[in-house]
Symmetry: C2
Subunit: 395 residues, 2 copies
């Protein structure tokens, strides 16, 4: 790639993350000299990709001109998948959904047709948007499972029948005519929290994705850590309990057997059967896990004692796992994110309690535990950021 194109991309990425920046700030962040930066910014303004947005307040000298991204110029197709539902949204570079979020039922388990379906969904989304392909930077997809982002494969859910020559990424790229990038859902949530959420600027942060399982995305030394094969963050299967509960991975006692929204629903069902009193009674369970999980978390937030107690139990178990993270990685912050963050700060007390009991005090005091404000939006933001990261990274 030509160098000036490379610099343009770096500048675009920085403004994408920061919303509005001056030339001096840009020069600092991309590590290039001011004259070169200004020249490139001027090119981008001439191409209508950037636009001046007035003057920043002076810090004691001449006021700098600031720049923002022209939101009609470029777009990213952002995709978030779980085992049942796939969400698709075309986003501009100010993180707005251009035409709403599409929601599609697409089971991944033992579904060799999944990839074909996904490809049509993506192509449709692009076509229906009416936006020219040349103005879409790429497609970013977050999905559960063991993902090798470099190769572009999902080892847990192949989504094909196994006879094909093409990887998931290759298939989708040829089907859509756009660059495609995939990564693990929890990793992308961590990326979103680091770039746009509560972990902004926390160069060492652990993002716990409380959902149908318990995922972990790690920000280490200011970048997403993926491990040697892209498999880092298998938080949910560390052996922590002597509960003899068989886990989906074949072992027993995994963290996941005691902590996930599925466990939350299970516990609620059993508790009600045992005669516990709760505002859930009458309309629970519905059988739709999305609704059921939300009901419990909303009831807890509204003060339902039974539901609060359930969250306490699970939160405490998560905290035991988090204690291990803190010992090993000494992070600046722990962020609770994903679907489960709907229950908000109800998680904090039980998690903190576990840390008090299981962490060396000197370590525990160095780490803040926080709840995401991005919530269910996080993964779509992370998918978009994934595209931008790849767009701006020299090949």
């Amino acid at each position: 790639m030509k160098k000036d194109e490379q610099y343009k991309r770096l500048i675009l990425r920085e403004i994408y993350y920061a919303n509005t920046l001056s030339a001096t700030e840009l020069s600092d962040r991309i590590g290039k000299s001011l004259p070169l930066t200004i020249r490139t910014v001027n090119h981008l303004v001439k191409e209508k990709i950037l636009e001046p947005s007035g003057y920043a307040p002076s810090s004691g000298g001449r006021r700098p001109i600031t720049y923002t991204i022209n939101r009609k110029a470029l777009y990213i197709l952002s995709v978030s998948m779980d085992q049942l539902v796939t969400r698709i949204s075309l986003m501009d570079l100010t993180n707005s959904h251009v035409g709403g979020i599409g929601r599609h039922e697409l089971p991944l388990k033992n579904n060799p047709a999944a990839l074909k379906v996904l490809a049509t969904l993506l192509a449709d989304a692009v076509n229906q948007s009416g936006i020219d392909r040349s103005r879409i930077l790429g497609i970013g997809i977050g999905m559960p499972g063991f993902i090798d982002g470099m190769r572009g494969e999902n080892y847990s859910f192949p989504m094909q029948d196994g006879t094909e020559q093409q990887t998931i990424v290759e298939y989708l790229a040829t089907a859509t005519g756009l660059p495609v990038h995939i990564d693990n859902d929890s990793s992308l949530i961590a990326l979103a929290e680091y770039k746009f959420g509560i972990a902004r600027k926390a160069a060492n942060s652990m993002v716990v994705n409380i959902g149908w399982g318990v995922g972990l995305g790690m920000i280490l030394n200011g970048s997403l850590f993926r491990g040697n094969n892209g498999f880092a963050g298998e938080f949910s299967h560390i052996p922590l309990f002597n509960n003899n509960k068989l886990c989906s991975c074949g072992k027993s006692g995994c963290l996941e057997t005691e902590t996930s929204l599925l466990v939350l629903i299970d516990k609620a069902v059993k508790g009600l059967q045992d005669g516990k009193i709760s505002s859930l009674q009458g309309h629970f369970p519905t059988g739709e896990i999305e609704k059921d999980a939300e009901s419990i978390m909303e009831a807890a937030a509204a003060g339902d004692k039974f539901c609060i107690e359930l969250i306490r139990e699970i939160g405490y178990h998560i905290g035991r796992g988090v204690a291990i993270l803190i010992h090993l990685l000494n992070p600046r912050s722990i962020v609770l994110s994903g679907r489960g963050s709907l229950a908000g700060r109800l998680w904090l007390a039980p998690v903190q309690q576990a840390l008090n009991e299981h962490c060396i005090p000197r370590l525990a005091t160095q780490t803040a535990v926080e709840v995401s404000g991005l919530g269910y939006e996080a993964e779509l933001l992370g998918s978009a950021a994934l595209v931008m990261e790849n767009y701006a990274t020299p090949q």
Copy 2:
């Protein structure tokens, strides 16, 4: 610092790690252009710091000139401390001990005079070497405890009475007139294994330091990971056991309560008291823990069943901890290093056994478990590398 000085240091560092390199290789590694690299190398040759060492075998073209470091030009003072013993060695830049390794008893626990003693030991070592201070790049010190290398403090063993204004590093620097750098012993062992040992080129590697405790140094994305406050790697205090054994940290069930050379000695003593048969009988325990630990490991290596069984037990427990590391960080390799590596490959089977039982197979197969060949030498090498890292890092 002037730029050409900076480039010289980068080049010196690369040759220090690789022993001998050609101009092209150097250019690649320091990320500078070939003309600039060659010019700087020529300067270094003129200053007698580098010297040409013949031609490298051609890979299909003109044979490149290779360069090595003149071993009489520059030196590093390398220090390795544990709670009882401090070792000091002046090393040249080919990792040879210039005048042997000095061994000094220096207890760190509740010893506010320790720093003063250390300062004289260091000054003596420099003076007795007869080498001019200007030719010593600096002093690197590995020590146990919570170390903040940036600030230059040891929070576990202050080594002063607490009324001083100067940090450990500041005190030693003024006392010796040389740049001083400190870091955690396990971190430095990891650095040594990564730069000179079996983990060479393994950009994601976990180095377990089996000694009087169980330390962990982590190489992540090709560099030593220290966490947000320099406290990362507190492997020994993750809660893994329901054994009700009180740990020095105040909690119970820590990994350290079941795995360390101290535990090994304890178990041997108890086993012999219970009438177990072993070649240790008669000359064990001596009360000197260094000797006792060595006796057990040597007996095991010589085939003593009782000692092998002890190592199996402890190795299995270490393996349970390592399983957690693998789940979280998906490393390329696990290296068993430190004092305990004297028992060599006897560790491998029990550790691997624990991994088979506690790891998801897909993850376990991605990680190799290996024993260090550096052994007790590792920490001194790491201390030297610490100096070189700081020497070549732009301020």
